[in-house]
Assembly symmetry: none
Homo-oligomer: 128 residues x 2
DNA sequence: AACGGATGTTAGATTTTCTGACATGATTTT
DNA sequence: AAAATCATGTCAGAAAATCTAACATCCGTT
């Protein structure tokens, strides 16, 4: 529980997140606009990122490099973060959607995404 | 070594350090002026703090509350940090190199750290 | 009472970040 | 091939965060 607090506490300004992820501010803001992340804001409206946010960004970056597009990543997250809500199905991907995702995958000869999503996402290794 | 990198990497703006330590900006700047800490600076001259810096501030706060004054704390540190191995941080690493190093480590599933820090600041309250 | 140490407060300058708009190269769709 | 879409670059103007420097204040000591 305390752990969750630690990793979700917003402590990093965008400049540092840029360094940590090698993403531009433009990219980070775009991913937020596309609902892939939801960084906190200061009273003055500045974005402030948690360790979890950085993990997510690294994962997003990874997916993009493997050929997925933002929409696909969003779908992944939507279906992944459903286990909470056991109402009906975790919103299954339509055939068309799935085909689109898979086509992207094959094009870039990427591994199945079950792997990538597990590899990254542990920035806490940076810190003690 | 990597552990040292993690804890010395400047990632926190003063506003966050204020929250983490319950110190005012004035206090933090004063302690720097008095050579108790040496936070990094951005290109634009903004202070950027490491986890070690925060630990140090918590320790300083503790000492002050116990009745020591700044001069006394400085003396303490001067005699404590005499040990020869204090050139452990090769100042030759560029920021880019550091970041790349850290990212590499992350990809390769770095193992947990072991080394105990000399300081006993309780930042670990916040981070794993 | 005067002094020095630690902190508060304020002002003006500079840096950082923000949003919004438009530009661009690469694909995909029509 | 033209048009549309995606992800990102870039720029401008505004607002927020931070900086230094100076002066003020509170509180123990001398």
């Amino acid at each position: 529980m305390t752990n969750r607090v630690r990793r979700t506490m917003p402590i990093l300004p965008i400049s540092i997140v840029m360094q940590l992820t090698d993403l531009t501010a433009r990219q980070i803001r775009y991913y937020e606009e596309q609902k892939l992340i939801s960084p906190a804001r200061t009273e003055g409206n500045k974005r402030m990122f948690s360790l979890n946010d950085v993990d997510a960004l690294l994962e997003i970056k990874d997916y993009l490099e493997q050929g997925l597009n933002v929409a696909g990543i969003r779908k992944l997250y939507e279906s992944k973060e459903m286990p909470q809500n056991d109402q009906a199905e975790p919103k299954t991907l339509s055939d068309a959607e799935l085909r689109s995702l898979l086509r992207e995958e094959m094009k870039h000869q990427a591994r199945p995404f079950s792997q990538a999503s597990q590899r990254h996402g542990d920035l806490s290794r940076f810190f003690k």
